[in-house]
Amino acid sequence: MKLLSATVSHYRIHKSTKLEFDPSRTLVGGPNESGKSTFAEALHRGLFLKSRITGAALEDMKSTVHVGAPGVEIYFESGSNQYRLVKVFQGQSGSTQLTEIGGESWKDEAAESKLNELLGVDDVGGGRNILERLKNQWGHLWVWQGESGSHPSQHVAQENSNLIQRLQSEGAAAVLQSALDTAVADWIETRYSEHFTKGGKQKAGSDLASAQEEERQAYEDFHKAEERLKRLEQAIQNFEQSETGIMDQEKALVDILSQKKISQERIHQLESLQNDRQQKAEQQQRASQQLELFDQVHKKIESLKINRDEVSKALAPESHKLEDVRKSLDASDQAILSASRQHETALEHTRNARLRFDWIQSWKNLLNQKSQLAQLLKRQTQAKQLKDQVRVVKEELQQLPDLTDSMVQKLRKIESRYEASKAVVESMAARIEIKQADLKVTLDGKLIQPGAQQTISESTELQIGDAVIIQLHPGGGGSLTEAREKSQQLKNELAEAFDKAGIQSIEKANEAAIRRTQLIQKLEHLEEQLKPLDDGDLEDDIAQLESNIQVSESELNRRREKLKDEKLPDDSDQESLKSLESDARETLDQVEMKENEFRRELEMARQKKNSITEQLTQLENHIRQREVKLQDLKTEIKVLEETHGNLEKRQSGLETARQEKQELDTELAELSARLNSMQPDLLRSELERLHRAEDITRKTIQDLRDRRAESKALCEYDGSNDPQMEFETAHARLAESRENLERENLRAGAIQKLTELFRSEKETLSSQLSQPLADRISIYLRALFGAGANAVVKFEGQEFQGIQLYRPGQVGAFDFSELSGGTREQVAAAVRLAVAELLACDHDNSLPIVFDDAFAYSDPDRVQSLQCMLDLAANRGLQIIILTCNPSDYALLGTEVRSFKTTENTQSPSR
C-alpha cells in the first residue's frame, strides 16, 4: 500500500492543501505552524475516521478561517489498483467515497468498510474518546509529533494479532502458546506466588512456611519432652547407681571393719609387748644404775683413801714452816718495841721545840697587837676633836632659819612686786594733811591729828566736827582699789613668807642663807676629815683589839707556864724576839726531821710484822684446811665403808649386779626383736589407713544416700502427667511434622520447578516467535549503531512487551526505558520500521510510515545514521514520509524537499 497524494480542505488552517507522495521517500519541509502536523493528522483521519463523526472530533477538525466542511481526498495504491478516497466530515451529512481508479466505487458505509479492508484495520467506531482510540489505528506507522520516544509496544498493541500471525508464518518452528498454555502457566504462577515471594524467597504464611513452623514447634516440644524424660531417667539412673553404690560401699565397709578389728588386735598385742619391754627396760636401767652405783662407790672409796694419804703426807712440812714463821714474828715484835722507844724520845724533843717556838710566836703576836692598839687610840683622840667641831657647826646650823638661796630669791620677787604695787597705790591715792584743825577731824571715824598726813586710796568719809562730813573719792576710780587690794595681797603674801621662814626682813633672810651655806660647807669638810679616822667601827675595833690582847697575854702566860723549866727572857724587844724565833725555828726543824726518821723506822718494823703475821695466818689457815679435809676424808671413808661394806663385800656386790644386768640385757634384746618382727610402724599406718578408709566409705555411703534421696525426690511423680507418654507423643508429632514438611518441601519444590520450567519455556517460545521481528529490528539498529548492534524482543503471551538493545562496544543489554531520549526515538523508529516491514507483507510489501518531527532529540551526529536507517527502510519497500521543520537535516536522505501546494479548488472535495 502506498500513498500517492492527499488534499486537505477546510481543515483548520488548511483551506485546500495538496501533497504528492514519493513512492519511497517523501520529505516535507515547512516552518513551524505551517500545518505539517495538521496535515498528517488530516491524512490519518481521512484514512481511519468515519466521515459522519460528530461532536468534539468534528469540531476539532473545523476551520475557523475557512468556510466549508473539513474534507480529505487521498489517492493511494493497494494491490495493483489505485484508489481515490474522498471524505467530507459534516456530521450526519458527512460522506465517504472510495473509488477504484477505473473500477468499482463505494460510498459511505460500504466505502468505509472497503477502506478498512484495504487498510487491514477494524472499524474504530465513534463515541467517546474516539480521537484517542483513533490514534491506535496504524499507530505503529504514524509517529506523531512529541510521541516518537514513547515505548514502541503501545503503538504495536493494536497490531499484535497481525504481528503474531505474521511472525508465526515467518518463523519455521515458531509456535505461539495456546490459551490453555497461558491458563496453566498462570495457574502455576498463582501456585508459585502462594509459596514464594517475587524474589523467590519462601513466603510467610505459605503451606511450606507453616510446615516449617510446625516442625520447629514440634522439635521444640520434643526437645522439652525429651529433656523432661531424660531428667527423669537420669534421676532413676542416679537412684539406681546410688543404691548399687550404697550396697557396694556397705560391703566394702564390712570388709574394712573386719580388717580394722584384726589390725586393732595386733596393735593391742604390740602394745602389750611394748609394755613388757618398757618394764624390762626399766628393770635393766635400774640394774645398770645399781651396778654403776656399786662401781662408783668402790672407786670413790679408793680415790678417797689415796686423797687422804696425800693430804696426810703434805701436812708435815707445813707444820715445820709454821714454827719458823712464828719465830720471825717474835723477832719483829722486838724490833718494833725498839723503834717505838726511839720515836717517842724524838717526839718529846719535837714537842718541846714546838712549845718554845709557839711561845715566841705568841709573844710576837702580842707585841703586834699592842702596837696596833696604840695606833687606834691615837686615831680615836683625833676623831673626838673633829666630832666636837661638827657638833658646834650643827648647833649653829640648827639655829639658822631653814632658807635656801632659791627661797630667798622667791622672797625677793614677792617683796619687789609688793614694793611696785605700793608705789602704784601711792601714786594714785590722795593725801590729806591736816594743817590745822579746830574741830575734831576724823577720817572714816579715825581721828586725825593736825600735821598728820593721810593717804586716801579709797572712798573715805572725812568728818570735821560733828557738822561737817566730807566724802572723799580719790582719783583712779576702781583701779586704785584694785591696786590697793593687790598691794595688800602681796603684802600679806610677803608677811606670810617671812612668818614661815621666821625672819623679819629680806636682808635677814639673805644673811641667814649665806651663813647657812658656809656652815654646811664647813660641816662637809669636817666629815671628810673624820671619815678615814673613824669609819664608825673604831670603837669596836679598839675594844676587839683590847680583848685580843687579853687573850694573847693569857696564851703567852700559859705557854710560859709550860716552859717554866726553861730559862727564857722575860722581856724582849722586836729584834731579839726575831733572833729567838729564828733559833727556835731551826731547833724545831731539826728535831722534827729526827722524829720523822724514827717514825719511818717504826713504820717499817710494823709493816714487817704485819707481813709475817699475814704469812702466819695463811699458813695456819692452810694447815687447818688440810686438817679439816683430812678429817673429812677419813669420815667419808668411814661412812662409805660403813654403808657399802669393806672391799671384799663391795667386790662381791659388784659382781652380782653385773650378772643381773647382763641377764636383763639379754631379755630386753629378745623382746625388742619380737617387737621389730611385728613391724609396729606398718601396723599403725595400717590402722590409720583402715580408719581413713572407714571414714571415706562412711562419707561415701552418706553422700550416696543423700544422692539417692535427692534422685528419689526427682523421680516421684504424682501422676498428673506421664513424661514417657509425653515424650512418645512429642516424638510422634515431630516425625509427623517432618513428614509433612518433607511433603510440603517436595510440593513446593515441584511448584518451583514447574514455575521455572514454564518461565524458561515461555521465554524460549517467545524468543522463537519474536526472532524474525528481532532480526528486522537488528537490521535497522545496525544502520544506526553499527554492525554489532542487536535487539532482543520480549513477547508475553501474544503481546509484544518490550525490547532490549545490545550495542557494539557495550556490555550487557539495555532495556528501552534505560536509553536516552534521542536513542529512544531512534530505537522506537527502528521497531516501527521493523514492524511495518513485517506487516507490509499483507500490503503489497509496502506501507507508508509517517514521521512527524520524530527525531527532535537526536544528535546531529546521529541524524546521518538515521537517514541511513530511513533510506534502508525505503529500499526494503516501505514508503517513508517525513515531516520536518528542518529539512536540511535530511539532506543526505537523497530526496527532494516537498512542500504543501495550495490548490485552486476551495470547495470540499467532490463526491
Partner: protein, 393 residues
C-alpha cells in the same frame, strides 16, 4: 486350682503415631476393654485368681486417668489379682506403685489387687505364689535367682501348687520391639534352666507379647490386646491363658481370645495401573470394610501412572479415615503411562505445556532421586492443572 495368666496390658500406651485423637482414644480404650474381657472370662471359668506377669502399665509414670481406669477394670474381676511390676512399670524409684494416687485408687476401686514387690513366697489358700518382680528398668541380675535357693522351696507346703510369676526374656525369646518403641530398650533376661523346675508347677511369664509355650510348665501369655503390627506368624498376641495347676503335675493351659482390634500388615507392588483395584480388593478382604476396628501397616512399591497415582491418593485418604491407623510406607513412583505421556507432551496446540511436560518426564527419570521425585510431583501437578483448566474451558 485354676487361674488366668495374663501380662503386658501396657495400659496408657500413648499410640502417639495415631494422629487422629479420636482414633487414638479408640486404640487406648481397646486395651481397657481387654481387661473387661478378662473379668468376664474369670467369672465364666470360675478361676481362683488372675496373675499379671508385669507391664500392666505402659509407663512407670502412667497418668491419673489411666490409673483410675485400670483400677476400675481390675476391680471388676471379682477374684484376687496378683501383679508384679515389669520393665515398663518397674518398681523402681518414681514408679507408679509408690504414687499416693495409685494407692488411693487401688484401695477404693481395686481392693482385690495385690501388687507384689518382694521376692518372697506368698502362701495362699490354694497355692503358693513365688513372685519375681522387676524393681528397676534393667535388672542386671536375674529376678528369678532367689528361687534357686532350694531351702526356700523346701520350706513350703509340699501339697500346695507352686506358681512363679516373672517378667523378662528367656533365652531364645526376646521381646523384639517395634522401631517406634525403640526407646524402651532391651528386656531383662530370665535363666529358667537354672530353676529347680521339678519343684515348681507353673511359671507365668510376661514380656513376650505373643502366646508362647517356653516349656510345659512355663508360658508367656502375651498381651491380651495387640499393641503393634504382627511380627510373623509365631507371634500371636490377643490372648489370656486359662491355667489349671496341680502340685507335681504339668499344668493344663488353654488360650482365651481377648483381642478386639485387628492389626494387619501388607506389602504390595504396583506393576500396572490396574493393580490399584487389586490392592483395594485385597484390603477389603482383610478389613471387611470395617471402620475403626483395624490398624494397617501398608508398604507399597512399584509405579503408577499419574491418574492412577492420584486415585491411589484418594483411596489412601479413605483408608486413613476407615482405619484406626494406616501406617503407610509408600515407595510408589509416579510414572505417566503412555496415554498420559502423550496427553502431556504431544500437545501440538499447547506448545508450552508440551515442552514443560517433556522436560519433566525427562527429569523424572533422573538418577538423582530428589530431582526425579520433584519432577514426578511436578508432573502430577501439571497433569492436574491441565485437567482443571480444560474442564474450566
Amino acid at each position: 486350682m485354676k487361674l488366668i495368666h495374663t501380662a503386658d496390658w501396657q495400659l496408657g500406651k500413648p499410640y502417639a503415631r495415631i494422629q487422629n485423637s479420636q482414633k487414638r482414644t479408640l486404640a487406648q480404650r481397646a486395651r481397657l476393654d481387654a481387661l473387661h474381657k478378662i473379668a468376664d472370662l474369670a467369672m465364666q471359668h470360675q478361676v481362683d485368681c488372675v496373675l499379671v506377669a508385669g507391664d500392666a502399665f505402659d509407663s512407670p509414670t502412667a497418668d491419673r486417668g489411666t490409673v483410675s481406669a485400670a483400677c476400675a477394670a481390675i476391680g471388676q474381676m471379682q477374684v484376687p489379682v496378683y501383679m508384679i511390676p515389669g520393665n515398663h512399670d518397674h518398681g523402681g524409684p518414681g514408679s507408679i506403685w509408690n504414687q499416693d494416687f495409685f494407692n488411693q485408687e487401688q484401695s477404693q476401686l481395686a481392693p482385690n489387687l495385690h501388687v507384689v514387690t518382694e521376692n518372697k513366697p506368698i502362701v495362699l489358700e490354694k497355692f503358693v505364689l513365688l513372685p519375681c518382680p522387676l524393681m528397676s528398668r534393667r535388672s542386671l541380675s536375674d529376678p528369678t535367682t532367689w528361687l534357686r535357693d532350694e531351702s526356700i522351696l523346701a520350706s513350703l507346703d509340699p501339697t500346695l501348687p507352686r506358681v512363679a510369676l516373672a517378667h523378662g526374656s528367656v533365652q531364645g525369646f526376646t521381646s523384639t520391639v517395634d522401631e517406634e518403641d525403640a526407646s524402651l530398650g532391651a528386656s531383662n533376661l530370665l535363666n529358667l534352666q537354672h530353676l529347680p523346675i521339678s519343684e515348681l508347677d507353673y511359671i507365668a511369664l510376661g514380656d513376650w507379647h505373643g502366646v508362647k509355650e517356653v516349656s510345659p510348665k512355663s508360658w508367656y501369655s502375651g498381651t491380651p490386646e495387640p499393641d503393634r503390627f504382627p511380627k510373623g506368624d509365631s507371634n500371636r498376641p490377643g490372648f489370656a491363658l486359662l491355667v489349671e495347676v496341680k502340685r507335681g503335675e504339668n499344668p493344663t493351659v488353654n488360650e482365651l481370645h481377648t483381642a478386639s482390634l485387628n492389626w494387619h500388615e501388607m506389602n504390595f507392588e504396583f506393576t500396572q495401573d490396574s493393580d490399584l483395584e487389586l490392592l483395594q480388593s485385597k484390603i477389603s478382604e482383610l478389613t471387611q470394610n470395617r471402620v475403626d476396628q483395624d490398624l494397617l501397616k501398608l508398604e507399597l512399591h512399584g509405579s503408577l501412572g499419574i491418574e492412577a497415582s492420584a486415585s491411589l491418593e484418594k483411596y489412601l485418604e479413605s483408608l486413613r479415615s476407615r482405619m484406626i491407623r494406616l501406617k503407610l510406607k509408600s515407595q510408589t513412583t509416579i510414572a505417566p503411562n503412555e496415554a498420559e505421556l502423550n496427553e502431556l507432551s504431544q500437545r501440538a496446540s499447547d506448545p508450552l505445556i508440551s515442552s514443560v511436560a517433556a522436560k519433566l518426564i525427562q527429569q523424572s527419570g533422573s538418577h538423582d532421586p530428589q530431582e526425579a521425585t520433584t519432577a514426578s510431583i511436578a508432573l502430577r501437578e501439571l497433569f492436574s492443572a491441565c485437567q482443571r483448566m480444560e474442564s474450566k474451558a
